[in-house]
């Protein structure tokens, strides 16, 4: 881990705040903070989504998030602070389900690291989302990044 680098990971039922994440990764020697905010959408295949519910295998999710932090620090050694917040429980539409904040002296590192972080999170962190629609059966979603989801399987295999 970089000198004084801080990894903050949080799985919470509270509303997420971009300012709180941004402040927690701010550092006096960094010029760049990159943030990614995943928000919940209001429609899926023409059905109106009324809310989302997230659940996690909490201790393992934290473990996998720590692995992502460690991988980021191997790939982008100038990264300073990392904060990954994922919301659990009921999330109203348009509210943030995930916020990732990463600081670095130069912007390309934090921008690339944020992209890697959200891509990897979707593939490896045991968290699940259920969409509840105005009408029709609720549905557990599947990330295409997840290797054992239908969408993640190589059709040629």
């Amino acid at each position: 881990m970089a000198l004084n680098g801080r990894d903050v990971i949080s799985l919470t039922t509270d509303k997420l705040s971009a300012d709180a994440v941004s402040e927690s990764v701010t550092c006096a020697s960094c010029g760049a903070i990159s943030l990614f905010i995943g928000t919940t959408r209001d429609h899926f295949e023409g059905k109106k989504v009324v809310r989302l519910e997230y659940e996690a295998y909490v201790p393992m999710a934290e473990l996998e998030l720590r692995k992502i932090c460690s991988d980021i620090r191997t790939k982008w050694q100038s990264v300073r602070h990392i904060n990954i917040q994922h919301r659990l429980g009921v999330v109203p539409v348009t509210e943030a389900s995930v916020i990732i904040g990463i600081s670095s002296p130069h912007r390309s590192d934090s921008l690339e690291a944020v992209k890697f972080c959200i891509d990897t999170l979707k593939a490896t962190v045991p968290i699940w989302k259920k969409e509840i629609y105005e009408s029709g059966e609720p549905r557990w979603k599947e990330n295409k990044e997840c290797l054992w989801a239908d969408g993640g399987k190589d059709p040629k295999c």
């Binding site: 393992m60 999170l121 557990w140």
Partner: protein, 90 residues
């Protein structure tokens, strides 16, 4: 006797697997030498509705992912095994 003892382990169910079994967790006793495929078959026998997940599930043993395979799991008494349907975090 195959030289392996039985181990009582807790199985955690998440997302769709929790809905299909109606359980968040349960204790089961299996051979410590069981493979992940055999363990899955055992869970399917107990909860036939899990069959729909067969081709898109992995297990986590002691919080590490384990695909369904013929590798022995070398379970220890009190281990935590989780059923991991396709992820949808983010």
């Amino acid at each position: 006797m195959n030289g392996f003892v039985d181990a009582q382990v807790s199985v955690l169910y998440f997302a769709k697997s929790a809905e299909l079994t109606g359980l968040k967790s349960e204790l089961i006793t299996v051979s410590s030498n069981v493979t992940s495929v055999q363990l899955w078959q055992h869970l399917e026998e107990k909860h036939p509705r899990l069959a729909v997940l067969r081709d898109q599930v992995v297990l986590a043993v002691r919080q590490e992912y384990v695909p369904l395979s013929e590798q022995p799991l070398t379970l220890r008494e009190g281990d935590e095994v989780a059923v991991i349907p396709p992820l949808s975090g983010g």
